[in-house]
Amino acid sequence: MIERTPLLNLATHVILVFGLVIILVPIWLAFVAATLTLQEVNSAPVEFWPGDQLWINLQQAWAQSDFGPKFVNTLIVATGVVVGKITLACITAFALVFFNFRGRMLIFWMIFITLMLPLEVRIVPTYAVAANALTPFQTIMDWTGISWLINAVSGVEVALEWNLLNSYTGLILPLVATATGTFLYRQFFLTIPDELVEAARMDGAGPLRFLWDVLIPLSKTNIAALATIMFVYAWNQYLWPLLVVTDRAAYGMVVVQLSDLVPDQLTTGGGTPTWHLAMAATLVVMLPPIAIVILMQRWFVRGLINTDK
């Protein structure tokens, strides 16, 4: 129901403006803090108007956190996660919707249930697997006696090892599986009329051809939406990179670097907290997700307008 009266209009605008202020004030404070000197940022009443130190602070924060290579790292990982998630979600949903096989619903529900299991819950086993991605196979071979057999026949001790710690693969792979994306794609694929599938079959297109020529072009909007959400998600990852990367110089991610700038008991050791640097770094780290959202939003709004219905 859409109701339009001057009073209601006013009320809704007041609520919207109020919400906007709540969201913007912290960002404004961060920006202000990033423009002040060390003394100003630590002086008693909180400063509300920007100073002139922004450029200097930015440079110092950038250098101190080694942001150049870290941005490249994070971009690689975030892009990898986005591409991996979309690909995996798309083909999983494709199999679930368009192929009729035994246990289809069971598999769907199993995937769906993992929606309730975020990375944090399974972080210990995931770490174990990342430390040696072949552990499960090793276990199976040990249990079934295959490794004993190989050892007895050839004298070679079977010890499979594939270490994913300190690598892009290790950073990306555990984040790729996505129940949300699979679910999103499944719901979209379910809206594709059967006749369209049959028309493609009559036209001689096989399943992969149909996926590539029909489903993917039709799900552009979905891809844009999913890519936006997942890019921001991957960019903001903190816990997993913190665990899996010990070689921070080579594989550090920006959010982990940023956390080092945030002053706490441990890092300042009683010195003056350098909030102005932390806030300057925050501004920088925030930029790529904001850019992606603005860019993609225009894109999927266009997608929504162009729907051929």
Binding site: P193, E195, L196, E198, A199, A200, R201, M202, D203, G204, A205, R209, D213, V214, P217, L218, T307, D308, K309
Partner: protein, 368 residues
């Protein structure tokens, strides 16, 4: 160019039997219309021919080759769907040419053929549009063009006109007939609309509850319905049906209200057999009370412009009479209904099979 043989075909979904023992021979270049109410299995039969559904029993052969195990694309069939099933993100040209693209036809040849096909269905000016920018009739043309361009052996139509408005439907009907006369591909057309069936078909197949009731030319079906079901389904308004019992002499049928209708000689009916008499409304005339073969009470009429449908009643059994003449009648007035002996159909009360069907018509069907 191909004939289609459907031999003893059965289809079940799980434990539900959709159809059983369907036999149908479709000649090369013939336009066959499968007519029946929704849920009678006509679309399923079409999809079995197309290969979109698997056959549970029996076999289907196209051009002499059994196609039971073949994929749709290997059967040489093209299909036009009820909801057009156009690819929404492709332009008209891409839609029409998609089958050729999949088949790997070189781009230059593909574009030339798309242009030629589009021209033949009157779409030459719309090649760059998306389906969303087209009207219903234009979308239907795109669907037709998409089928034509593959030069299929067999054309399958799954109620292609049911989403169009009445005027456009007639227009597209003519278009389909014109295209058929031009390319002479064997065509199977499924519909629940008897006008479409009667006007388009070389031969009609009437289906009901997963079985074929009758196969014949539209004229045969109309003039000599083999069963009570066909008699009631084809024709508008529907055939009048009057229940009765064959009299002791076997020459007339006694109705519940005591009226007797004389029936022509030469059909096997025993005294006391329950029968249904069928009379087409168009073959009846109205006469003053006391004359004609039946007496009825006038209720009301419907104006069609070119004619009128007069509604009458014999006891509580409704009767329709279609006449060009505009009579002035009063509700409750008694009228006589006149008809020729040849207009009379008699069906067995239990099986619904026709008892009066002339042997000539039966012979035609055997030849077919």
């Amino acid at each position: 160019m191909a004939e289609i043989s459907i031999r003893n075909v059965a289809k079940t979904y799980g434990k539900t039997k959709i159809m059983d023992g369907i036999n149908l021979e479709i000649r090369n270049g013939e336009f066959v219309v499968i007519l029946g109410p929704s849920g009678c299995g006509k679309s399923t039969l079409l999809r079995l021919i197309a290969g979109l559904e698997e056959i549970t029993g029996g076999e289907i052969a196209i051009a002499g080759e059994v196609v039971n195990q073949l994929e749709p694309r290997e059967r040489g069939c093209a299909m036009v769907f009820q909801n057009y099933a156009l690819y929404p993100h492709m332009t008209v040209a891409e839609n029409i040419g998609y089958a050729l693209k999949v088949a790997g036809v070189p781009k230059a040849e593909r574009l030339a053929r798309v242009a030629a096909t589009a021209k033949s269905v009157g779409l030459a000016d719309f090649l760059d549009r998306k389906p969303g920018q087209l009207s219903g009739g234009q979308r239907q043309r795109v669907a037709m063009a998409r089928a034509i361009i593959r030069e299929p052996k067999v054309f399958l139509f799954d109620e292609p006109l049911s989403n169009l408005d009445a005027k456009l439907r007639v227009q597209m009907r003519h278009e389909i007939r014109r295209i058929h006369n031009q390319i002479k591909a064997t065509s199977v057309f499924v519909t629940h609309d008897q006008h479409e069936g009667m006007t388009l078909a070389d031969r009609l197949v009437i289906m009901n509850k997963g079985t074929i009731e009758q196969i014949g030319t539209p004229e045969e079906i109309y003039e000599h319905p083999a069963t009570l079901y066909v008699a009631g389904f084809v024709g508008s308004p529907a055939m009048n049906i009057l229940p009765g019992t064959v009299a002791g002499d076997g020459r007339s049928v006694l109705m519940a209200d005591g009226q007797a209708v004389a029936i022509p000689a030469g059909f096997k009916a025993e005294a006391g057999q329950l029968v249904q008499i069928g009379l087409r409304p168009e073959r009846l005339t109205l006469m003053p009370a006391g004359q004609g073969g039946l007496q009825a009470t006038f209720l009301f009429f419907e104006e069609l412009g070119s004619a009128r449908v007069y509604h009458l009643q014999i006891e509580d059994i409704p009767m329709c009479v279609v006449l060009d003449e505009k009579l002035t009648l009063i509700e409750g007035q008694r009228m006589g209904i006149g008809f020729a002996q040849t207009a009379l159909h008699v069906f067995d009360g239990a099986s619904g099979r026709s008892l009066t069907r002339p042997s000539a018509a039966r012979k035609v069907e055997e030849m077919a």
